[in-house]
Symmetry: C2
Subunit: 300 residues, 2 copies
């Protein structure tokens, strides 16, 4: 492990701890949430994961010297939405996956009805939390800018569009670029919104926001390619979800479209493009650069 990678590991761990603490604080604080709903939301929020999106948001805010703490509600909002989308994704009427992050999926524990509502509640809690907690700290224009990017990224022309293309047989197209479209919507849009939201809250100038836009776009694609590769080569204990499901469900993936070797090359190319996008930043962007590098190690 290089020094930079060690530094990244440390930062990722610290971010994960801060995000986990903030989630606990929020779950305890809101006394209006019915107990069973709180349990269902907390079950999936606590199931862990790398907290990659919060990390990206905070690292992007730090580019302008903004500390992590005031950005946490936005970072957690991104994770809330991500968790919600996984809960709905696992439902029998969608991907029908009984396992998520090594544990029974939400609906296996709480039933389909409550899992559907827990997903809805988390989607909405993301907005509620971001607005109420950021309002006393950041200028209203920046908050609206960040939340606006977030909403656009996850709505019907963002993540939801990707989910439909990914799961609805009649929406399928046969062209090679279909897999790029799915990936950039299903995965890329939220990853890009994570850095954009952090950058906007931090008050970065337009040219740097554009650089983050490009970084997020390429990182998101690299991330999805690596995920598709791991679905073929990964072991369940590494992944915490059921491997090989993509091909069983006949999904369009980078591996099914291009084969394993070319998929690995695409992941490398996108990762390099992500790093190259950050040329207008100095050392302060090293965590974002290291992340793009480390991501690749997962797939090779």
């Amino acid at each position: 492990m290089t020094e930079r990678e060690e530094d990244l590991e440390l930062r990722l761990r610290r971010c994960r701890e801060e995000v986990d603490r903030e989630i606990e604080r929020l779950l305890e604080e809101d006394s209006g949430i019915p107990e069973r709903l709180r349990d269902a939301m907390g079950y999936s929020l606590r199931a862990g994961g790398k907290r990659l999106r919060p990390f990206l948001c905070i690292a992007a805010a730090e580019l302008s010297g903004c500390p992590a703490e005031p950005v946490l509600p936005m970072a957690v909002a991104l994770e809330m939405f991500h968790t919600a989308s996984l809960i709905h994704d696992d439902l029998p009427c969608m991907d029908d996956d009984p396992l998520r992050r090594g544990k029974p999926s939400n609906h296996m524990v709480f039933g389909e009805g409550l899992a559907t509502l827990a997903g809805d509640a988390l989607l909405l809690w993301a907005f509620e939390t971001a607005i109420s907690k950021l309002l006393p700290v950041f200028p209203a224009e920046r908050i609206l800018g960040a939340i606006g990017e977030f909403a656009k990224a996850i709505g019907p022309s963002g993540v939801c569009a990707g989910q439909v293309l990914d799961t609805d047989p009649s929406s399928r197209e046969s062209e090679d670029d279909f897999v790029w479209r799915i990936a950039s919507l299903k995965t890329g849009a939220l990853i890009r919104a994570s850095v954009l939201a952090g950058g906007i809250l931090g008050g970065l100038e337009d040219v740097k926001i554009e650089a983050l836009y490009n970084y997020g776009t390429h990182l998101g694609l690299a991330f999805q390619v690596v995920d598709d590769i791991l679905d073929v080569t990964g072991k369940p204990e590494q992944m915490g979800k059921t491997p090989g499901k993509d091909s069983v469900q006949g999904k369009v993936t980078f591996v099914s479209t291009y084969g394993l070797e070319k998929a690995r090359r695409i992941a490398r190319d996108e990762s390099v493009k992500a790093i190259d996008s950050l040329s207008c930043f100095g050392q302060e962007a090293d965590p974002l650069r290291s992340l793009a590098r480390v991501l690749l190690d997962r797939s090779s």
Copy 2:
């Protein structure tokens, strides 16, 4: 029909037409929405209904002399969320209702997977639309205030909480006030947020916002009581949904808790309280007063 009621009818119809037009415009405008998703969202958005929440939002904004047109995106956002909640509500894992507003429910036409995603997409489109369309017109603080009320009202301590209490058997409580809690969350929270959002966008002073808060609280309760009464006394062609479902599903309603006669009295009392809340307003609040009056006619 009194003159005031005729005026209300006219206003309601005009509002419905404006909202319907805005919905069509938005569905056409956003070219990033996949066709099948757009069809599923549009199917339920177009299924009509009285557009009561948009009307409340616009009528509240008009209290300060604010015209309807700039408020439309907020009004439509309220309807988008309402539609989303109905789509998810009808799913087999929730209320399992094949009929909504006299037509097959969303999942009967598009399947459960796409219906779940169409609901998610509409929830998120509500925020995306409100933020992007209000931003050029209203001060950022007002937009955040309005959207913040909206998010709080529909999240895990608002509408979602009500849905859980209403559908999850283990969340049920036996006290008489349980039905009040369900109603104020499941129905009341969004109705109240509708007037608050309009009032905040219009820039009303705090004391008038508080009056709207009380009006919305009582109107929302009256609305739910009337709905419970109609579930027992209504005819399918009047209602556009399956009547008698509440008792079949063993739901806690005002009629099951208090009986028909007392439920009618509660509806009347809440309606009067709603009207009384508006005493700080002059004639400009007549549409909101008439609405509370006309609501009662539905149940008697």
